[in-house]
């Protein structure tokens, strides 16, 4: 609902500032893309292996890590391995105490090393932020070359469906440069971000992109 007090006069002020004539009906907000047709050249390549390597390289530039596993079945074992090798505590249901959280990415954007994560429940809403380590899991099908209508389709869909919660594009672990523009990782969010991409053969992973 809307708090009506002030709304009408507010809109009247905006309309007047725009030079609209009094009583001129406001067009019924036909939302179209403002100008031009395309946003970005969506590269046509959907070669998952090449995209995965590009994703890994880009994420690496912002201090995130990427691992490939051949199929979805290998994801759990990989998480186990990460947890053990880094001495992380057991998975906790209480995020406040958890050493790590596992997130699912609905899209991966290779150009920037970005993961699209949507959390739709109250219990999960702080998962991307509270633990020191975030493990993001995605299928190689979720890889896209650039940020585009296509790569944000899941976000479009969630918005259209009226999903609740938060969608967040995550690019690397949290960071700050607020003191003398000096980069510090971690800040208020995770210090480590590891993305596991399922469906990429180990042999492919160093193939030239």
């Amino acid at each position: 609902m809307t708090d009506d007090s002030g709304r009408a006069s507010f809109l009247a002020r905006v309309a007047a500032a725009l030079g609209r004539k009094e009583g001129e009906p406001r067009p019924a907000a036909p939302i179209q893309r403002a100008v031009g047709a395309s946003t970005f050249d969506e590269e046509t390549t959907r070669d998952a292996a090449a995209l995965a390597i590009r994703f890994r390289d880009e994420l690496g530039l912002v201090s995130g890590e990427t691992v490939f596993v051949p199929d979805v079945g290998g994801v759990d074992a990989e998480i186990e391995r990460i947890v053990r090798s880094r001495g992380l505590g057991p998975a906790e249901s209480d995020l406040k105490k958890a050493d790590y959280a596992v997130l699912r990415a609905e899209a991966l954007i290779a150009d920037t090393g970005t993961a699209l994560v949507i959390e739709r429940t109250a219990e999960r809403r702080l998962a991307p932020y509270l633990p020191r380590t975030c493990i993001v899991v995605a299928d190689s099908d979720a890889l896209f070359p650039t940020m585009s209508s296509a790569s944000l389709a899941a976000l479009h869909a969630a918005a259209r469906r009226g999903d609740k919660g938060e969608a967040v594009l995550i690019t690397g672990p949290a960071r700050t440069a607020d003191i003398e523009k000096t980069l510090v990782l971690g800040a208020h969010g995770p210090r480590h971000l590891i993305v596991i991409i399922a469906g990429i053969q180990a042999a492919e992973k160093d193939a030239p992109s």
Partner: protein, 455 residues
């Protein structure tokens, strides 16, 4: 409230040994990072397009606001329309009271500074907690942010170290990593205890009714998601038409602000989950004054990236404190006179050489020097910038320059007076200001005009 460009600050800063050097080198690094980041993409095309999208959005602002509102409501949120900063702060307090909030965790927001929200909350017995590291530092110091994306940029790491030592009773350290960790630990529980979480908005998407907040530290995610009640305080110029339009701005914003390809977090608030509440407070607070001015309107395209501050030779020397209000640098000098009133801030746009470095950097192609001159003219028209003496002197000078005879007399006066300043009579009183560190040019024995006639 009369806002002066603080000359004293100029003086102090120019002669203080540490601050400007730290600021200057930070700003130079920021510009270098930006240039490196933008070199790899079709930068000019993107900023052209961003400019067009903003132009469209501002021309259709009334429609977009209404559309955004209905979508936001459909997501389960509530919208409040507020005309003044004061009203916006009051509505904010109302919401806090309704939900019985004792403390508010805040993401970084410049609008919040306009509302003087921290003071208002404190006065109402509600504890405001800044969570962005820079804002946290500035709040601890009892100061005001001096840069729109790097609030504590005016402080050295040593300054921050002794501040933390004094206020937080921790051992002195000037290691940014340790300082950041101290802030993290201090704030953890505050997110979970707060009754209300507040953020600004980088973009409001009309098509979806989603608010987009861009940040790097994770504090924006925690501030918006942890407390049971979420309030977005949004300047009305933040609305853009579609999700696809957002993509253009995301390419530009991080590169311009921090030199990153993409910011770490781009949050989209879809709607409140079980039992939580979500509000959006639309804030006018002088924006319709900018909107009503067909020239100054362009300043509403600003995405608050800070690039124009980073490159500004004035800002680099004096920092944000000298500008007297919320928004410093070239963009601040353009919007402040309209937002707070030209009679109160008419001096700001004069604190510029009009070198135009800002316009080159602006990712949405705002013609900042042109807008500075426009605001100067408004200030003069309103009698808010020039003395009656100056106005009279300019008028009579113009009369002189409007005829060959008048011109010859001015030249004669200059020669007799031996002072170049006679050519610009309203400068004469300031001849001393010129001469402090500069030799005064000599009037030539023969003008070019005379030479041409005699040749």
């Amino acid at each position: 409230m009369t806002i002066h460009f603080d000359r004293k600050q100029v003086h102090d800063d120019l002669h203080s040994p540490s601050a400007p050097a730290v600021l200057d080198s930070s700003m130079r690094r920021a510009v270098e990072h930006k240039h490196a980041a933008q070199a790899l993409i079709a930068w000019d095309e993107l900023r052209e397009r961003a400019h067009e999208i903003k132009a469209y959005a501002i021309e259709h602002l009334d429609e977009l606001l209404v559309r955004f509102e209905s979508e936001f409501i459909a997501r389960g949120g509530r919208v409040l329309w507020t005309q003044t900063a004061d009203e916006a702060a009051s509505r904010f307090l109302d919401i806090c009271r309704t939900h019985g909030a004792r403390s508010v965790v805040k993401g970084k927001s410049m609008v919040s500074e306009e509302l003087e929200l921290n003071a208002r909350l404190t006065a109402a017995g509600i504890d405001p907690v800044e969570t962005d590291l820079g804002e946290y530092i500035v709040q601890l110091a009892g100061e005001r942010p001096t840069h729109i994306i790097a609030p504590a940029i005016h402080m050295s790491r040593q300054d921050v170290g002794s501040l933390f030592e004094r206020k937080l009773k921790v051992d002195y350290t000037d290691d940014p990593e340790v300082l950041s960790e101290i802030a993290r630990v201090r704030l953890r529980q505050r997110y979970l205890d707060a009754g209300v979480g507040m953020t600004g908005a980088n973009f409001g998407i009309a098509e979806t009714g989603t608010v987009v907040v861009v940040e790097n530290e994770g504090n924006g995610g925690l501030s918006s998601q942890a407390p049971p009640v979420q309030i977005v305080v949004m300047g009305i110029e933040k609305v853009i038409p579609t999700l696809d339009d957002l993509i253009v701005f995301l390419q530009l914003l991080a590169r311009s602000g921090t030199g990153q390809k993409m910011s770490t977090y781009v949050h989209h608030f879809l709607g409140p989950v079980d039992g939580r509440a979500m509000y959006c407070i639309f804030v006018d607070a002088g924006r319709t004054a900018l909107l009503a001015d067909p020239v100054a309107r362009e300043s509403l395209y600003c995405i608050r990236c800070g690039a124009c501050l980073n490159v500004c030779p004035i800002y680099r020397r004096v920092g944000g404190g000298a500008y007297g209000w919320v928004y410093p640098g070239p963009i601040g000098s353009v919007i402040t006179p309209s937002m707070v009133g030209v009679e109160d801030a008419g001096e700001l746009p004069f604190a510029s050489t009009l070198c135009g470095a800002c316009a080159v950097e602006c990712p949405v192609k705002i013609d900042l020097p042109h807008l500075l001159v426009h605001q100067r003219a408004r200030a003069v028209d309103e009698g808010a910038a020039s003395s009656p003496f100056e106005n009279a002197a300019v008028a009579s000078w113009t009369r002189a320059m409007s005829s060959s005879r008048g011109y010859s007399f001015a030249v004669l006066a200059a020669r007799v007076g031996g002072a170049a300043s006679s050519m610009l009579p309203w400068i004469s009183p300031a001849a001393r200001a010129w001469s402090k560190e500069r030799s005064m040019p000599k009037v030539a024995s023969m003008t070019f005009k005379d030479w041409w006639r005699e040749r």
